[in-house]
């Protein structure tokens, strides 16, 4: 009996010392282990952006024509591709959660004392780990082809993408939980949102030549401001309002995403 009392006192002490940051770090570590234990997935995820840069880039250079070399096309196109891989990675991340809901691992984790927001934030932050590595490698690969490198600017650019990515990741988790009973619904919603958002952000082709309605829509698309900010930053400029707008768009997305996500996690009965 006396040991039982001591045990429960020790348990209370442990619980009292929990912190949100510690919880986020624990969740992040668990998720990141999948990458560490299976680095091939990371290598494979580099193929897609490189294909885009290598095959789509020259075409874009051809369309732009006159004097624009491959190097300056890269300067325009590469930040867009970095945004694209962020969007792909973070918007698909809900599928991992859906898998863990299906197998039961998520329920087991829900039964631990981890705080609910930490479950979501740790997972969303995990998507940024490979992203940073991908972005750095893609950028370095582009340098020999005439891409001008501005390391400090790229760091700021990745920070914006990081904040934005947490928001998109959290929304993806909310979607995964909402569609947990039919997997295809997750992909249907994710795919039908992803491509319009990407195209309407001017990520692939500049929207200046597009019709008015497209330009109007792009103004309402938070991704547009992210893409603009990344382009300005990757070309070595801090002093531009686009950077500020980019940060605002990223913070708003993260706030909305986390609010929706945490609400979904706490309100849903699995």
């Amino acid at each position: 009996m006396s040991t039982a009392i001591i045990d429960s006192a020790a348990t209370s002490a442990r619980i009292a010392h929990r912190s949100l940051l510690g919880d986020i770090a624990s969740v992040w570590t668990r998720e990141t282990l999948t990458i560490l234990r299976d680095p091939f997935s990371l290598i494979f995820s580099l193929v897609q952006p490189l294909v885009f840069l290598g095959l789509f880039g020259p075409l874009l250079a051809g369309v732009a024509g006159d004097g624009l070399g491959f190097g300056s096309t890269l300067q325009f196109f590469l930040p867009g591709v970095v945004v694209m891989i962020t969007m792909f990675g973070t918007s698909m991340t809900g599928a991992n959660l859906q898998f863990e809901i299906m197998t039961g691992a998520f329920e087991r984790i829900l039964a631990t004392p981890l705080s609910r927001p930490a479950l979501l934030m740790g997972r969303a932050l995990k998507e940024l780990t490979p992203l940073v590595i991908q972005a750095v490698i893609i950028t370095l690969v582009a340098v020999p082809f005439g891409f001008d490198l501005f390391p400090a600017h790229i760091v700021v650019g990745l920070l914006i993408l990081g904040v934005f990515g947490v928001g998109v990741g959290a929304l993806s988790y909310a979607l995964a939980i909402a569609t947990r009973k039919n997997e295809w619904a997750f992909w249907a919603v994710q795919q039908s949102l992803l491509f319009p958002l990407l195209i309407l952000s001017g990520m692939m082709l500049p929207l200046e030549t597009g019709p008015d309605w497209m330009q109007a829509l792009s103004k309402a698309n938070p991704l547009t401001y992210i893409v603009d900010a990344e382009r300005v930053l990757f070309s070595g400029t801090f002093d531009d309002s686009a950077v500020v707008y980019g940060f605002i768009a990223a913070i708003v997305t993260a706030a909305v995403g986390l609010w929706v996500g945490v609400r979904t996690v706490t309100k849903t009965v699995l």
Partner: protein, 320 residues
């Protein structure tokens, strides 16, 4: 360890309100081994999910390990272990990583988590599985890993939701060995749900029968069987011996029933302690010159208890 008062949970399904759990009052003392028995959809799992704070009650209260589930759900979760119906370990993870991270989730430091992981791998016959990917484990190994995950923080109270569903008899027996040893060594209080009659009968000391969201019986398996069904002796006799048999039987037991069978009549009746009563009854009949052609003793199962309580068989319910 557990105290509930009028614990209730309803679900909204379209316009309908489904009452999954209707006013459960339950007390579980430290060190008890309790099985919630009932058909699928009876409210067993919903009750368990409320006790583990995974599901907030619609009304009523529950105190688990000294903590109110509604006021401090995280506090409850930190003090109990929960092993759900599905695989707790992530399929894409390594066994060691999952155990270590589970320790971190419960607030253990790295050193302590590693010690516990090592201990549990040994206890649960998972030595050498450290670097294996969870998806490559067999069903029995996965289940034992789930138990290890549920025990990483040495909870004094452990909940298991349908722990042996889908397991073959050998793995089920093996799982029970582990559960019973845990209890013997650490005095862990264990609450589990099951729809396997034999499991509740042989393993649990206390059986809580749940049906339609309510507790309809709560006692040891033996007491439930004695109270709700009782042992039945059946003797088959010729027609000319029937009147004498009726006399003897009327003294020996109750709830007498007669049914014609090949070569006579089967007279069955309820007695308190069948194995003890049977020789006496046969002697008494023999003394009075009755030629007993056949005699059987049937001891009740928990299914008879359930049948008696609800008018339905649990077996049919379980298969449905």
């Amino acid at each position: 360890m557990i105290h509930t008062h009028q614990l209730t949970r309803t679900f909204e399904s379209g316009k309908e309100t489904v009452e999954a759990v209707r006013g459960i009052d339950l007390d579980v003392a430290e060190g008890e081994l309790v099985a919630f028995l009932g058909p699928n959809g009876a409210g067993k799992s919903t009750t368990l999910r409320m006790l583990t704070s995974l599901l907030p009650p619609t009304s009523g209260t529950a105190t688990v390990a000294g903590i109110d589930v509604t006021a401090d759900p995280a506090g409850v979760r930190g003090r109990i272990g929960y092993i759900g119906q599905k695989d707790g370990a992530g399929h894409n993870y390594r066994v060691w990583d999952e155990l270590l991270m589970q320790g971190r989730f419960y607030g253990l430091d790295k050193k302590r988590a590693a010690e516990r992981a090592e201990e549990l791998l040994g206890t649960l016959d998972l030595d050498g599985m450290q670097m294996r990917k969870v998806s490559t484990l067999s069903g029995g190994q996965k289940r034992r890993l789930d138990i290890a995950l549920g025990l990483i923080h040495e909870p004094a109270l452990l909940f298991l939701d349908e722990p042996s569903t889908g397991m073959d008899p050998q793995n089920r027996a093996n799982l029970w060995d582990h559960i019973l040893r845990l209890r013997k060594e650490f005095g862990t209080t264990i609450v589990l749900t099951t729809h396997y009659l034999e499991e509740a009968d042989t393993m649990a000391e206390r059986v809580v029968v749940i049906d339609h969201g309510q507790i309809i019986a709560d006692d040891t398996a033996d007491a439930l069987k004695a109270e709700q069904a009782g042992d039945r002796i059946t003797v088959t006799v010729n027609a000319e011996d029937l009147p004498t048999t009726r006399e003897v039987v009327a003294q020996a037991g109750t709830e007498v029933e007669e049914a014609p069978v090949d070569g006579g009549t089967a007279v069955s009746f309820r007695v308190d302690a069948g194995p003890v009563a049977l020789p006496g009854v046969l002697h008494a009949l023999g003394d009075k010159g009755v030629a007993v052609k056949a005699a059987t003793l049937k001891q009740p199962t928990l299914d008879d208890v359930f049948l008696n309580l609800t008018g339905r068989s649990l077996r049919e319910g379980a298969e449905a």
